[in-house]
Point group: C2
Chain length 551, copies 2
């Protein structure tokens, strides 16, 4: 039996566009005499469709596309593809998250997802009812087990999230092989974990697995692809490339052993820096591409965050599509401009210099009578950041740029940034990357050539909003801060546990947790953040703004 | 048997503060020789605790408070109170949403919530496992059924959200009465619906119900209280007041009939305007109060939205704590300032006038060379809005005000507003209130006296960012717009259905839906929105920014 995996990149709600991609893949597979082609989870509408699923009209569009797929597949190929389906039983949620098995131009079987991830960025029980019955689908003499994403995601821990294991149930029915339709977003740990989990399922139940993931970014979520073919002993037969579409073919013989038919070379690295690097570029590219946008603008401060953001923007959008704006103030050091110019030169991209002193002086003059003689404080610092935002947004509005936000995860965590100032933007490029990781990434990017000027990496971080300001005036060293943040945010450890794990002083930990919990109101208003970690700020971390926990 | 209902207002994660309120209520009930006191859902930690529930430390704090309640209750009173509890079984989620039954100073029984709302603003399956077994608790010769919020929320529709009905299961065990611990947020339809649902359950199963809700606002969610006592024939015996704390006592005799002991008069209106009015005041008051803030600032444009926001701010925080800032531009009409001054006078509150022309002219002069000769457009309009934001945020930072956002729901829906301009603020007061409802509210407020100047209500809405601008230049009339928005947002109708329901032209509807779906990126960055409708923007409506649905 010849099986194809179609790893594709969809747009949510773009029914015509998605259908075109799907039908092209089917046509190609038919030309290759393929018996069955496998697509990813909710391929027809794109994942995650979120509350669009509540619209009956949206579900009907999905059904229409299923009919059109039936019409092109005819008796030439079987198609297994993800789409929502209506729950015929009145009790329970109105929808299932389903895999349609199309044979002879008809829907032969609809398999529903059993395990509905409802944690982190996932909200599936918001929309879907769980499957409770297990059946195989027979096709050309083979018995096929069909699962959807989470159904196979048994991490092997002693504390599973669910009370049922769908693969175990299906294995009892003795399938020849198992299909999995996924929409599994990237994080820098995911590639290794995915192979490990699929592999363990295959060997534990002695069953070959064809695992089809989608690829491309959906606002903040980045899907890396990396679809898998694993044999019944858990051996990796093939892995599709990361962060791009691909279609590959496999022959499953009578003994259920698997041959790769068309070997596309891929250079799938498991290196975390390389993965984060490629993920961010994919995230920027698809945010712009899917919204029909081309050009980005950003403020270049001379610091490492805006430097790295510019590098990513140029990589993702092309140097001709990115404009940097240098906006020195009276507190800016000379090296801020010099270092920025060096970077712009290295990347061969265009820039403008628009100082803010004149604008600041006028605003300050206008507002001083209303400051009641109070001294220079964070007000004046924020005013500078907000004047820069006015400049950037004016150029953005006038010329059709999208402003990129350059905040890193450490700053976002503790609220070290100005709302409506440097926290503006259409997309936050680095806000899931800790400051210490920003340094690591820059060094990784510079591993062969000095792309990001050495001085930008080596100088002490500063917002340059008052004379001789340094980040370390207000914050613990990033080496310390990031370790505490990682325990609190990624590992969800409370204050006592963090003290035990890291051995830092109670007062230091309490101060940091208080900063994090008090900055929730700022994070509520930040742009969507490209997610590269297992726990990013945004829809994957939900905390009430008004609270007194750890503060 | 003497039963007390304690309708209280908690702060999320404020374990000491919440315990103090709870222990005061228990002390008072003991003094009244009460047999049993009933609190609301997750009272100990506050509702909704969201991802704080993932912290083991947070759950342990809850357990410590339970122990302290046991210690004060001793053998003097039984306490039924909501808190999370750990799931002892490794399979499934780690927590239950539970009701602790405390008798003789010990936890006698823990009842778990069966139906976990996971829709709208609710994410309970994100954290909790569902109860699957049904038992009564015996106390002083009575058999008591215990339920938590959603467990009783059978709307009687033919398409229920769940496959089990906990009240039906419990009724089979023949309880003498039923307790319900709720944390059920307000919307302007909720008060009537709540009585109807609890009443239907009582009469259908022939069982008296004591229903205890919490009150007060938690960021965007407003809890109205309105706790209920309903007899076994579904008759309303008592309803606790809305939007404030209360503690009341009831006697349940041997025949399970109920007497009110201390009758507090309440003036619970079911009028939608009055309810929205009181809810918004509660929302502002608790946002400020629970964050330890006192003073609000807002920009007064002369339009109806900022006028209504100022009215609410003064009502909630006191006139001495609210500062209005009038920031006329060269495009402002004279009546903008005059009308605003009249309003400020009516409300006897303070104001400043800081024109923006000088600041605009300087910024425009600085930026013109970078506009490449392109004509005046939305850029210059946005610049004016953003200069006002700089003024307001500078005063906010310098003097410790919180900026109130004045956007209404119609504007938020179609993206009619300037990001980092008039869309700034710590709290969006009106963004769940359509423009047509804003008018209705102002007329309702003026029903006896002209508090909001008539001219503000009667003039045509305008942003006044270019000469002779009117909202109607860019948007359909609000009467039409709001009806389409209501079908799309509240009723979740697709384009064809809206056309059938309203009979408007296809092009008009398509234009509006496109505006809504394209404005998602703006709504992503708006402040938290006080929720007064069954479907507010914010955590109750989750839509991907990058999408091509209906656009």
């Amino acid at each position: 039996m010849k099986i194809a995996l179609a790893q594709q990149n969809y747009i949510i709600g773009d029914f015509e566009g998605n259908f075109e991609k799907i039908s092209d893949a089917i046509d190609q597979a038919i030309q290759q005499n393929t018996d069955l082609i496998l697509f990813s989870e909710l391929a027809i509408c794109g994942y995650p469709p979120r509350d669009f699923l509540y619209f009956n009209h949206f579900i009907e569009q999905c059904e229409l596309i299923i009919n059109r797929i039936c019409a092109i597949a005819q008796d030439r190929i079987a198609v297994v593809i993800g789409a929502p389906s209506k729950n015929p039983i009145p009790d329970g949620k109105d929808l299932y998250n389903s895999a349609y098995f199309i044979e002879n131009g008809k829907v032969k079987h609809i398999t529903h997802k059993t395990l509905l991830p409802t944690y982190d960025v996932f909200d599936e029980y918001r929309y879907f009812e769980s499957n409770r019955t297990f059946e195989l689908v027979e096709y050309k003499g083979k018995k096929i087990a069909i699962t959807i994403c989470e159904d196979i995601w048994d991490t092997g821990e002693t504390n599973p999230l669910y009370t049922v294991n769908p693969v175990e149930e299906l294995a009892k029915l003795q399938p020849d092989f198992l299909l999995n339709l996924s929409a599994s977003p990237f994080n820098y740990k995911q590639a290794i974990k995915r192979i490990e989990i699929v592999s363990r399922n295959a060997s534990a139940f002695n069953i070959p697995i064809f695992y089809c993931n989608n690829t491309g970014a959906q606002t903040e979520l980045i899907f890396d692809g990396g679809s898998l073919v694993i044999d019944n002993q858990g051996r990796l037969i093939d892995e599709l490339p990361y962060f791009r579409t691909a279609q590959k073919y496999y022959e499953l013989d009578v003994n259920n052993t698997i041959q790769i038919i068309n070997d596309i070379q891929n250079s799938n690295t498991k290196d975390e820096m390389a993965l984060i690097h490629d993920a961010i570029i994919c995230g920027i590219k698809d945010y712009f591409g899917k919204l029909g946008l081309k050009k980005a603008i950003l403020g270049l401060s001379g610091g490492i965050d805006s430097a790295l953001t510019l590098y990513f923007a140029v990589k993702a959008l092309g140097k001709q599509n990115v404009l940097s704006v240098l906006m020195p103030s009276q507190y800016s050091t000379n090296h801020s401009v010099d270092d920025s110019l060096k970077l712009v030169e290295n990347l061969d991209t265009s820039y403008k210099i628009i100082p803010i002193k004149e604008a600041f002086d006028v605003l300050d003059k206008i507002l001083q009578p209303h400051f009641d003689g109070k001294p220079f404080d964070v007000t004046e610092e924020n005013m500078q950041a907000r004047i820069r935002a006015i400049y950037l947004m004016a150029l953005s509005n006038k010329h059709g740029y999208v402003l990129l936000n350059t905040t890193n995860k450490s700053e976002a965590a503790v609220g070290y940034g100005t709302l409506y100032g440097d926290m503006c933007g259409g997309l936050a490029v680095l806000a899931d990357i800790y400051k210490t990781q920003v340094y690591d990434l820059c060094r990784w990017i510079n591993r062969n050539d000095e792309i990001i000027p050495k001085n930008i990496i080596e100088k002490a971080p500063s917002a340059e909003l008052r004379p001789n300001q340094k980040d370390s005036d207000s914050l613990p060293d990033y080496e310390i801060l990031d370790r505490v943040l990682f325990e609190y945010i990624e590992n969800i450890k409370g204050p006592d546990e963090i003290r035990q794990i890291l051995g830092f002083e109670e007062a230091l930990i309490d101060r940091i947790l208080k900063l994090v919990n008090r900055a929730e109101f700022k994070r509520h208003q930040t742009p969507p953040i490209l997610r590269i970690s297992p726990r990013a700020f945004g829809s994957g971390r939900r905390v009430p703004i008004v609270n007194k926990y750890c503060q």
